[in-house]
């Protein structure tokens, strides 16, 4: 707490870029649902398991931290 001064989110770019190395995913998009959420809306709360099976509640960060939610297509793919 407090000692970690900064966090590189260049990893997010790695997340996107490194997927190129994975297996190719044959696909054809059929439907695109653009989100109806926009700046100024409240973010819907959620509870999800992280990669260590620990529950993460978005609401836990309310009043504490800004949160970047980076939805990615699939792990280990170019998506």
């Amino acid at each position: 707490m407090g000692h970690v001064r900064s966090l590189s989110i260049i990893a997010a770019a790695v997340l996107a870029g490194c997927m190129v190395a994975g297996a190719t995913r044959p696909q054809e998009d059929v439907k695109v649902n653009h989100t109806s959420l926009k700046a100024g809306d409240m973010a819907p709360d959620f509870t999800l398991l992280d990669n260590h099976w620990k529950q993460i509640h978005l609401s836990d960060y309310r009043g504490k931290k800004n949160v970047v939610l980076a939805f990615y297509v699939l792990a280990f793919t170019e998506g």
Partner: protein, 101 residues
């Protein structure tokens, strides 16, 4: 290099992969932030970014690439979809401009 102040912001990657798959993926690419599993697609539906894909004539649904920045009040500050969501610089810029606690 785009940096976020860890005392002020957190990053979560989210997909439909299992925690086990996400953990292997995290180790492979060396991410320092948690990867969350939306295996039942509940959050994707709530956020309106569940996308149908047609793969070899079968339909599947998983996430459309989207980045949201949520401020400390729980309010969305920015939404980037598809190609524009690949580069994290804008999300970082949005966070940097948000007021400190």
């Amino acid at each position: 290099m785009a940096k976020l102040d860890a005392s002020d912001a957190v990053v979560f990657g989210i997909s439909i992969d299992s925690p086990a798959a996400n953990n292997a993926f995290a180790e492979k690419i060396g991410v320092t932030f948690p990867l969350l599993s939306d295996m039942n697609r509940k959050v994707l539906k709530e956020y309106g970014i569940l996308k149908m894909y047609n793969v070899q004539k079968e339909e599947y649904d998983w996430a459309q690439r989207t980045t949201f920045v949520v401020d400390k009040k729980g309010m969305i500050q920015s939404v980037e979809e598809e190609a524009s969501a690949i580069n994290p610089n804008n999300a970082v810029a949005v966070c940097t401009k948000l007021p400190k606690k």
